[in-house]
Assembly symmetry: C2
């Protein structure tokens, strides 16, 4: 095994590839002057990006297959082709106001793993697959991790095909339009292990001085849309005692959520956010009679999440009474907590230790393709720190060449170790 640790990545080539892919869908933000990336899933920019990555896959000697949901797999054969492959990947679709790193680091990192193996003429026991998956962001068709969810059986292909974007265009049509409606079956890949390298998209690694994060799992996520119904009335003529102010009710809920995250009532890592606030009529001199809001809850423990959700409903009843409003909640997302495989996490930690990196155990706050693959095979993730408090989904998103190289070097070593493992 010592011999297989010899190969190394080409950090400059990796970073150049990230920058090159980042030019596709690039735009200049008018307010800040920064250059961002808009490569919405199955858009023509996504098509162009996909063709570039496929070209690179082929140049690296990978055998490229596209499945019926547009996931792209580039296979490097192993010494024992009948063994299950080790897979690394992520996504190249983006939110409309993205940077160049989200997803792309994992895809181009996997490509770099293949390139490095080629450079050093390394033959692995197991096949290796570099992959990217369709519509991870969920920004266009409303379902995130769509491609990997179909590939791993959580979502049926026919249900995915009929999802539509805001213009009424379907996933199937749009796959065809960009030439990525593949012919390979969606559930053909059963990996030995899946490893994904991704930017943290948060401030923890950087603020705690870590070079790399070993991801323990993904938080449970619950989203709710709330409608608070009070009564619109004149801000000047209506005595305070007669009001049913939907804005005040929302403020109470928002601060209660904040209190809960501080008190530790639902665990130390419970997070809660009210990101949407739409009062109606939204005029300076009218008491809001109606308000639409959102609640985003995150919890590493499903049991704590259920308690937090229940507390939200119970507290809403209290606010209804206090403020004379009615509050309706509709669940718009709910995924359970994921714990990544301890042996793969251990392997990542060991490899990073061998590289002399300071690494932290970290929980993923966002959803990733890895959580889908974790249903089929042992899975873990490597997080790379981000500058500017790890800002992401923003043109300011940035990880240094060294940060990216550390993550992908660790990915290479982990893939190498996994690809020598026995079993089926």
């Amino acid at each position: 095994m010592a011999k297989t640790l010899t190969p190394d990545i080409d950090a400059k080539r990796l970073y150049a590839s990230i920058r090159e892919l980042g030019k596709i869908g690039a735009y200049r933000d008018e307010r800040t002057g920064l250059v961002g990336v808009n490569r919405l899933a199955l858009s023509s920019a996504d098509g162009e990006g996909r063709r570039l990555v496929v070209k690179w896959f082929k140049q690296a000697g990978l055998e490229v297959r596209v499945d019926r949901i547009g996931n792209v797999y580039g296979r490097r054969e192993g010494l024992e082709p009948g063994l299950r492959p080790v897979m690394a990947g992520s996504h190249i679709d983006s939110v409309p106001t993205a940077g160049a790193f989200d997803g792309c680091l994992g895809v181009l990192g996997a490509l770099e793993v293949a390139r490095a193996l080629n450079d050093h003429k390394v033959a692995t026991r197991r096949p290796f697959i570099a992959a990217f998956f369709t519509e991870e962001e969920g920004c266009r068709f409303g379902v995130d991790m769509l491609g990997s969810a179909v590939a791993t059986g959580r979502i049926r292909l026919e249900d995915a095909y009929v999802l539509k974007d805001q213009a009424g265009l379907s996933v199937k049509e749009e796959l065809g339009k960009i030439g990525f409606l593949g012919s390979n079956p969606v559930r053909a890949i059963l990996p030995h292990a899946y490893v994904e390298c991704h930017i943290e998209q948060g401030p923890i690694l950087k603020r705690t001085g870590m070079d790399l994060g070993v991801v323990s799992g993904v938080q449970a996520i619950s989203w709710f849309e709330g409608v608070i119904l009070g009564r619109s009335c004149h801000a000047g003529t209506t005595p305070m005692g007669y009001r049913r102010d939907a804005g005040v009710a929302a403020a109470k809920l928002n601060l209660k959520l904040r209190d809960w995250t501080r008190s530790g009532l639902f665990g130390r890592d419970f997070r809660a956010t009210m990101g949407v606030l739409r009062p109606h009529p939204g005029m300076v001199n009218v008491v809001p009679g109606r308000l639409a809001c959102s609640v985003d809850l995150r919890n590493p423990a499903d049991s704590m999440m259920r308690r937090a959700e229940k507390a939200l409903f119970v507290h809403s009843k209290k606010v209804e009474k206090e403020e004379g409003v009615s509050i309706r909640w509709r669940r718009t997302a709910g995924t359970p907590a994921i714990r990544f495989d301890p042996s793969v996490r251990e392997l990542i930690d060991e490899m990073a230790e061998g590289m002399g990196l300071k690494r932290g155990r970290i929980l993923s706050g966002a959803g990733h393709d890895a959580q889908e693959w974790s249903r089929l095979c042992k899975t873990a993730m490597i997080f790379v720190p981000g500058e500017y408090d790890g800002i992401s989904h923003n043109p300011r998103e940035f990880s240094t060449p060294k940060q990216c190289a550390d993550g992908v070097r660790c990915l290479l070593r982990t893939v190498l170790a996994l690809s020598q493992e026995g079993g089926r």
Copy 2:
């Protein structure tokens, strides 16, 4: 004086006139099916409404004059034409989603006073003027009580002329377009007294079982636009301790305002409203990094208002520290408290008592033309209760024929008494 109390209004004619004028600019609200009124100042609908009222003024024998800001005065000569006139009036322009009563009750009430005097062949000592004023709502050109403010000297004619609506059309152009750019000087009217009958636009009279309100004054009004700057970040990946959530900061301010109205710290009648809340980017999984909001403060006492404003600024500093945000406030309106003339209020109360009406002392929460005229002459207002908690600026706005008749009958008696008074 007993003889002058004989004339009475024609309640049916009054109500029919309100209904007739309400047809101009009428629209059907799609959501509720209710018929509302959209007669924005100096719109073609306003022009049509004005021509109808002018026609009625002339039919009632009033001598009509239009001044340079489009205010319309219909004069009924007195026995002593050299004495200052008694004036009653209000406005017929509306917000875009109005009912038929706001303003119109006062204008058509003044018309009904003239008609009743005619019917009963009453000659008054002083001249009587029925009037309506331009752009009371301030919805189109951004300055409320515009016509009466120009007529009473608070705003200069040339400054009013150049005010523009959102389409860039000026007051002067639009006055010309509807044929109401009059030639009479704007500061020619100096009344002996001004009395305005208006719907309450609030729930107090109805809830306290009153037939009529004797208005003691108008609250001081302060409006602020606030911008709270925090930092947008990912709701899943950003630990609570790292957040600078503009939405949480707004919630704290909103609840503090509420607390102050309850504690009586700034007087028993202090009112505060946060009607605008615009978080950015306003997405379920993004912590709001910026939030625009409004604060509407009302207080019957100017000194208390100043203390409340100061407290808002001081508390904002506290929230800035607690939440790591910065908060900027910009004043967008500020009018001092008005106390109406005690002798006219007393007269109104006496007349209402003579009619056997239950009347309450009430403070106006909204601005009215009367507050402008109160600078020039003794002034007071009569409030008429509204159904549905006095909802206004809404197609549901409704006062019964009896409620309207009580108010205008009291107006007639008050005008009669004032028009017999001595002095200049």
